[in-house]
Symmetry: none
Subunit: 212 residues, 2 copies
DNA sequence: GATCACACGTGATTC
DNA sequence: TGAATCACGTGTGAT
């Protein structure tokens, strides 16, 4: 009826070996392909292969998407983006879980050969013994939202100082998780507040931790 | 007319030269084509947008690739495929680790539960303006250890006050989990400190919450 | 109406 | 060589 569109025309050429009589000069500059009867066709020979390749790619994406629990949008890019955040979350979970597991196992071993004396011990010593490094990690997870991971020496006063400072900066806590691991506090929190640059926020937190 | 338009479109599709700020090497090698009047033919207006979209997509893929330890090939499809297998592996690891951890924790709890029976006290406090049922729940989970669940109105200052007060009482936080739910903070924490009676602790916390 | 995401057919490149 | 991968500019539909 109306003007046949470009793509559909090529499809039919590909499938039917259609040959057009009117070919413009510029069109002729293209590589020319011929079918079995020696008739020139306007389709590249890798057309079918490229189609199959695209289909495969899309199905791969579907598979990946099916593995991810929280899909924000259905776009291709979203699948990739969500896969990135989800992979990071999984990696982090594996990290913390193995640490917790090791801590528990070690505790079990200690309890087996000695009296259960959990009351007093030096957190700083533990920190050194386990070779845990203090750490600040910041990632942007949305508009004015940051994901923060902090590892500091187990010291309640210091922890409070950190929270106070964050509070005084007008930072709102969306979610927080505090765990004690081997004489250290592992703090993972999502915050919302002033639009911080990730880099700035990281250094700010690092400075706070150093100062207290 | 229609045929003419068709040809003209195809000329401009991929053989037309395009001068832009970002031109790839391969693109530069392309020839520029002109129509019969020597005028270079049009380019689509969404050309730049589409380029930017492609670049974004590719950079996303790079990010995803950087998270995956074992990359078999450098192709786009490989990144997806590897992401799939890696994600499955991570999910499996998280599964097994949590299972192991729970098994160990259960074992620990059984050992501790040998002595005193857990005393539980749960009470619903008055409703606040938000219609949220504030709540304080306290359980004894070991020697000088308390498990506490608190629901308060989402208010960072109030949360900080609570933490400060707990800190000033010499309470050490073993583990804490803060979640925001519909304008409320849900705080679940394990603390260690002076030997509190469960009832005392519960009323103390309730008083603190009321006072702030 | 403008933007966005997409599939398409194609030429070049790589292996 | 042939098969596979890629970037490209486009038309279209959805929003």
């Amino acid at each position: 009826m109306e003007q046949e569109n470009y793509n559909r025309l090529n499809v039919s050429l590909d499938e039917l070996g259609f040959n057009s009589e009117n070919v413009s000069k510029t069109w002729k500059k293209r590589k020319e392909y011929y079918n079995e009867d020696g008739i020139r066709v306007f389709t590249a020979k890798n057309l079918g292969a490229e189609r199959r390749r695209r289909e495969k790619h899309i199905s791969r994406l579907y598979i990946l998407r099916s593995l991810i629990p929280n899909i924000t949008k259905m776009t291709k890019d979203s699948v990739i983006t969500d896969a990135i955040t989800y992979t990071k979350r999984l990696q982090y979970e594996v990290d913390t879980l193995t640490q917790e597991l090791h801590a528990l196992e070690e505790k079990e071993n200690l309890e087996e050969r000695a009296e259960p004396k959990i009351a007093e011990y030096s957190a700083a010593e533990d920190l050194n013994n386990w070779g845990i490094q203090e750490e600040v990690q910041v990632e942007n997870i949305g508009e004015n939202k940051l994901w923060i991971k902090i590892i500091i020496e187990k010291n309640t006063g210091r922890f409070m100082k950190l929270m106070e400072t964050m509070n005084s900066l007008g930072i709102e806590i969306i979610e927080a998780n505090v765990t004690t691991i081997k004489g250290a506090y592992l703090i993972v929190t999502s915050i919302k507040g002033i639009s911080f640059d990730v880099h700035q926020a990281k250094h700010l937190l690092a400075d706070i931790i150093k100062s207290i």
